[in-house]
């Protein structure tokens, strides 16, 4: 039965389409997407304070550059990566993308980011940026991310507790065995009221510091770069401390691993030693406790051995491979990374500026706060003591981090032996890294 297209049918179809039209266009109602034609979209992650400052920075750029409008899209860290991955898949990601160390490899290798090589050095001046930071944003020798600030692994200690117990503060060249002695002393002298240290045995960043001190590393060319024996040594070290109360017990460790810093043992005064990434010193630790927190270099293997720490970019600015305003975006990135206004606005919210130009602006100002001075002094110390940076982790490094955490918990809760744990971790991690 065929019906010729009558006037009524035509009208109906039209009406139906009319009814659909707003629905279809609703898919495109995202205001940012609409403005993308004449604006540069810039997405960033962080806590509300950091996002507020970066939003302010975007406005500042817009007001001083009449031809470009920076549309700022700030998202809380917890949701940022889900959103970015979805935007990428939908072809609707922002032009300038704030991205972290593990993911720049993941996104860059997948062709989601644009090489910035053609903008260096004319549009983006990379000379003032520390070489060791810069190479961490390179993939196969090409620049894919511009570091904006630097974050350094440090060992934090509770000055108030150590002074109360009459214990000496750790010094710059302390060793892992001195760390263990101090941790056990804290436990004993406090009358077993608090534990010595946090338990970082499931934390890849901490393991990396330990491995680098031994001349090894987590990854090399996308595979695990350390022998089983070192992981065994690492787990045994923490198991021994766990047995004496030198580190927090398994259930407190499992808890502090969750969520944010307020759940950490240093802030909760359950332990007096814990590692701190420098940008978090103020907001994540010092502001949350009435005790005084000080930072120093993490322990080494031997007195004259290598210190494992190295400055890392807190995050990068990268360019979306599909960006239609790449030139404007690159200019904005340079202004963000090297500009005086940017340094003055952001200060040390993500750590000291990666660019020497930005650091100079802050050092010349006479308004440095106590914790800013602390971080700047420590960064200086760390730069002097650091070795060449590690290679960027492979795409599956997030899955390997999950695996290390789980293995450390299995061991701490005595579900498996250290030997079993190490074997299982190495086998599973290799399988994960091979891409199954």
């Amino acid at each position: 039965m065929t019906t010729p297209l009558s006037r009524r049918h035509f009208l109906q179809a039209g009406l139906a389409a009319g009814a659909l039209a707003p629905l279809l266009s609703a898919c495109n109602l995202d205001p940012a997407a609409k403005e993308a034609k004449e604006s540069v979209r810039f997405s960033s992650y962080g806590d509300p304070t950091k996002l507020g400052l970066r939003g302010k920075l975007a406005d500042l750029y817009t007001s001083s550059h009449p031809d470009v409008k920076i549309v700022f899209e700030g998202t809380a860290t917890a949701e940022y990566w889900d959103k970015l991955a979805t935007q990428m898949a939908g072809g609707n990601a922002p032009d300038v993308i704030n991205i972290d160390v593990p993911r720049i490899g993941q996104y860059g290798a997948a062709g989601a980011l644009q090489s910035l090589q053609k903008y260096v050095p004319d549009t983006i001046d990379t000379k003032p940026i520390d070489h060791n930071l810069l190479i961490q944003g390179q993939l196969k020798g090409e620049q894919f991310g511009i570091p904006v600030a630097m974050s350094t692994y440090s060992m934090g200690y509770d000055v108030t507790v150590l002074d109360q117990l009459g214990l000496e503060h750790p010094h710059q060249t302390w060793t892992w065995s001195e760390f263990a002695t101090l941790a056990n002393e804290i436990r004993q002298k406090s009358g077993k009221k608090i534990y010595g240290a946090e338990d970082p045995s499931g934390d890849t960043a901490s393991l990396q510091i330990f491995l680098r001190g031994k001349g090894e590393d987590l990854y090399k060319n996308g595979t695990l770069a350390f022998p089983d024996s070192l992981l065994t040594e690492w787990f045994e070290y923490w198991a021994a401390l766990r047995a004496t109360g030198g580190t927090i017990p398994a259930d407190i460790a499992a808890q502090s691993k969750y969520g944010d810093w307020p759940a950490g043992p240093l802030v909760k005064k359950q332990a007096a030693l814990a590692h701190i990434q420098t940008p978090n010193l103020k907001g994540g630790f010092q502001d949350l406790t009435d005790h005084t927190i000080e930072i120093t270099l993490p322990p080494r293997n031997t007195k004259d051995g290598k210190c494992g720490t190295f400055p890392q970019p807190s995050s990068f600015l990268s360019l979306n491979a599909r960006s239609k305003r790449a030139d404007d975006a690159a200019a904005f990135m340079n202004w963000f990374a090297n500009g005086a206004e940017a340094a003055k606005t952001l200060r040390l919210i993500s750590g000291p500026p990666a660019s020497a130009a930005g650091r100079d602006v802050l050092l010349k100002g006479s308004d440095l706060s106590a914790s800013e001075k602390q971080v700047l002094a420590y960064t200086d110390l760390a730069l002097k003591n650091s070795s060449p940076p590690s290679q960027a982790g492979p795409a599956a490094s997030t899955a390997v981090a999950d695996l290390l955490l789980k293995t450390s918990q299995d061991i701490a809760f005595k579900k498996i032996s250290i030997k079993q744990g190490v074997q299982k971790f190495m086998a599973d991690a290799r399988k994960t890294l091979d891409g199954k």
């Binding site: 179809a13 139906a16 629905l23 991955a85 808890q255 969750y258 599956a396 789980k406 399988k431």
Partner: protein, 318 residues
């Protein structure tokens, strides 16, 4: 446009006019108008539900990291799920334990409360509202956070235990107990099955109870021989619904474990592992395969339920 015409088309090709009332045309026109009004909903169904649904079926046979086009992987994802992924099997185990514990306990609790709230007391409406409140809050992140605090090592529960000289532990961050705190959280949210039970209880004719009383049946006997048999359709409905919901549990585990499913994967719910694979590890194809297996699991359970229902569910009108 093309979508609009395809949706409008069935109205134009209506093959079976209703001849009994002799006037086919007005009826057909009515249908068309109805379809027209339904069109936005159909569009939503096609674009926002059916499309993504079929899309995920396709993706489940691919490797897809969201950034590059999906690459065909045949049954690779499904094969890996059951032969080469211990964390997946762990997530299955956690989820099955959770479902097996939470469904009967929650329903039993809901039924008990519903029976208590079915009595003609003064201010009963207030009691009912109060008992329903946990369910209104239940799915929220805030409650999951509070739950974490309650069962923490320095939480309320341990404070209570310490009062009696019992040394507590961190219930929520111990792999032996973490899952059970989440089971408890779900039982506490008994409100919605409770309300359904309450409505069912109201339907049971009072004469039956009176007759049973005259025959000398005790309260317990009246419950088992009158209430429970007449309530079986409601119980069945709640069982089906709660099993489906329990399989899909996500928020409490995500919040309490900070998204890790820890400690030691003891709260690694199926949906949580699916989320980790999809969004943390960007294995969207693998996550899609997991989603389809979950659909099959839930469908199987529902079918089994309907099959068994013939044996124990009593419908008065049959």
């Amino acid at each position: 446009m093309s979508l609009g015409t395809t949706i409008a088309a069935p109205a134009g090709h209506e093959p079976a006019p209703d001849v009994r009332d002799g006037s086919t045309r007005p009826r057909r026109r009515g249908d068309r108008v109805a379809y027209l009004f339904l069109a936005p909903w159909f569009a939503g169904l096609l674009l926002l539900t059916t499309g993504p649904l079929l899309g995920s079926l396709y993706l489940s046979f691919t490797k897809f990291n969201l950034l590059q086009p999906p690459a065909w992987n045949g049954f690779g994802n499904y094969l890996k799920l059951f032969t080469d992924d211990p964390r997946y099997l762990q997530s299955l185990k956690v989820t099955f334990i959770y479902v097996a514990l939470t469904v009967p306990l929650q329903l039993g609790f809901a039924l008990a409360v519903a029976v208590m709230l079915n009595r003609p007391l003064r201010g009963m409406a207030w009691y009912r509202s109060i008992y329903y409140i946990p369910s209104l809050l239940g799915g929220s992140v805030a409650i999951a956070v509070i739950w974490g605090q309650l069962f923490d090592d320095d939480g309320v529960l341990n404070g209570f235990l310490a009062f009696f000289g019992v040394a507590g532990r961190s219930w929520i961050s111990n792999p032996d107990t973490a899952l059970y705190t989440l089971v408890l959280l779900n039982i506490w949210q008994f409100g919605s099955p409770m309300v359904i039970f309450l409505a069912g209880l109201k339907q049971i004719p009072q004469e039956l109870y009176d007759a049973a009383s005259v025959d000398g049946a005790s309260a317990w006997r009246r419950f088992w021989s009158v209430t429970v048999p007449l309530l079986t359709p409601i119980i069945f409905f709640n069982v089906v619904l709660q099993i489906i919901q329990a399989f899909q549990a996500f928020t409490p585990a995500y919040v309490v474990s900070g998204g890790s499913g820890g400690p030691s994967d003891s709260t690694l719910f199926y949906t949580l592992y699916l989320y980790q694979q999809g969004f943390t590890n960007l294995n969207m194809g693998y996550a899609s395969a997991m989603a389809w297996v979950l659909l099959l699991i839930i469908a199987t359970f529902t079918l089994i339920n309907f099959g068994l229902a013939r044996r124990w569910v009593y419908y008065e009108d049959r």
